[in-house]
Amino acid sequence: MVKTRKRIVKTRQLVVYLGPSIALALAFIVFPLIFIIVMSFTQWAGLGPARYIGIQNFDYLFHDPSFRAAVVNTLLWGGVGIFVQTPLCLIAALVLSRRPFMWKFIRTLLFVPSVVSTTILALVWYFMFDPEIGLVNGTLTAVGLKSLAHSWLSDPSTAQGAIMVPFVIYIGFGMVLFLTQISTVPKDILEAAQLDGANVWRQDLHITIPSIRRAIALWALFLVGYVLRMFEYPYIMTDGGPINRTMNVSLYIYDQMVTADQYGLAMAAGVVTVLLGPSSWPASCSYCDG
């Protein structure tokens, strides 16, 4: 990071340039945060009076096996995002950055799923994994591996893995980000390294990747934020099941708010989620220093 010598600025200019962002942040992030922190100590049905109950909600969360599973699963999603999805995006970007045959076409093809909403992707994969009519079992049977055919989404041992498949596979978004970053790496440095005898992978490892490490860290961080908010995959593919095994915190909050009318509890779970976020910062920042 380039050192910036800061210059004095007039208050009036500050207000104009910082004002809008502070206002937006206050309205849509700070105020709601305060709201949920306050409400997390109450029992509230979404309307009517909120009854103060101290830390009872947090106590409930601590003892609820479903919430514990949700927290573990959410951390798992974050880990998979940082250590599986991000490297996949990176490798795909590195491969395509060398401009192989039809690379632009391939890049567009891989990007297409990004403009399809998570809901639709989850639904498509819900069908793919259906034990009766799904393509996964269908393909396994067709190639003679019928013994491997499984009830992927209703078997507790495979359900969590199954619902992570679409998350891991759709690398288009991150790949495009890395591709655009890679194209800013000055070609002459790479050419110089090549002349020095470094093969493609050496070049990538020692030059390309470190040059875009900021983007990699950004993407990993973005994914962490994403898994904290995303609930479509467990909601549509397994409804949090079987028996709440594939729950994640976002779905837990959604269920408590929208179905169980337990707004106070949902807010408490929200507070816990906020605390979860920064705890995964170190992991995503493992990319920061290459």
Binding site: V2, A25, I29, W125, F127, G225
Partner: protein
């Protein structure tokens, strides 16, 4: 020695194409299935989801278009995504510029603006609804765009600030010496040099806004404001799921967005590489 090198190269090439091939198949087969299914009738879909349709009928496409105003939904999505993204980018860029100067609460402000990066939005449904309702923006595209602008502010700000920080202070100093005012430095130096960051942020934001469903459902109630995602999921829920129609709607929505991306993506890359070549 030569043979080893050649073999490694061959292995690397095979590995590369295998990798791309597997990714392509896994990514696209489900979507191809989606497009294929949109030509089927519902019973056909459940009877044999992965067979070719008996009759390739466009009934689902015409049905989807006639029962729901999909074109309006598409327009709303475009407006919401564009407006939300433009607002976030403009506001973030200004904030990042302001933070390059020395003032007492600089660090605090920076952390304040980035704090919202890892917060969950589901429990925010209630307070954000109250705000939008009080502002009179319920069931309007502008209300939704405003919420997106606010929700995505930390992301946009982080990306843009990261890029802006690579501009050396000397460049700004030079402009100031040339007589540029506070605003002048912003418009004539900062913005052009941060262009790659703005483009990167734009990609993130437009796609995030485009795919968002929870608040789109919450803050809109009629076709004048509902987005494409809301429209498509209309086919999917409750006791009247019509998956082939939903898929037809999705397929139709995919086409222009992908086309737009394919044609505009070169520009994005150009803007990124342009600055690098400076």
């Amino acid at each position: 020695m030569d043979r080893v090198v050649v073999t490694t190269q061959v292995v690397a090439r095979i590995g590369k194409w295998l990798f791309l091939g597997v990714l392509l198949v896994l990514s696209l087969v489900p979507l191809l299935w989606l497009v294929l299914s949109s030509f089927k009738t519902t019973p056909e879909l459940f009877r044999g989801p992965f067979t070719l349709p008996r009759h390739w009928s466009f009934a689902n496409f015409t049905g989807a278009l006639s029962t729901l105003p999909l074109v309006t939904y598409f327009r709303n999505s475009v407006v919401v995504s564009a407006a939300g993204t433009a607002a976030t980018i403009a506001i973030s860029t200004m904030a990042a510029y302001a933070l390059r100067h020395k003032f007492r609460l600089n660090g605090l402000t920076r952390n304040f603006l980035m704090a919202g990066l890892l917060v969950p939005f589901t429990p925010f449904m209630t307070p954000i609804f109250y705000i939008i309702e009080r502002l009179g923006l319920y069931n309007t595209v502008w209300g939704l765009a405003l919420v997106y602008a606010g929700m995505m502010l930390p992301v946009g700000f982080l990306i843009i600030k990261t890029y802006m920080d690579t501009i050396p202070e000397e460049t700004l100093e030079a402009a100031r010496i040339d007589g540029a005012s506070f605003h002048g430095v912003f418009f004539r130096v900062i913005v052009p040099l941060t262009a790659p960051g703005l483009a990167t942020a734009a990609i993130f934001l437009v796609i995030s806004d485009w795919n968002e469903l929870l608040f789109a459902n919450l803050l809109t109630a009629s076709p004048s404001a509902q987005t494409l995602q809301v429209g498509i999921t209309t086919f999917l829920t409750g006791y009247a799921s019509n998956y082939p129609q939903a898929f037809a709607g999705t397929a139709m929505a995919m086409a222009p967005t992908v086309l737009a991306y394919a044609l505009l993506s070169n520009r994005v890359i150009d803007s990124m590489t342009a600055s690098a070549l400076k």
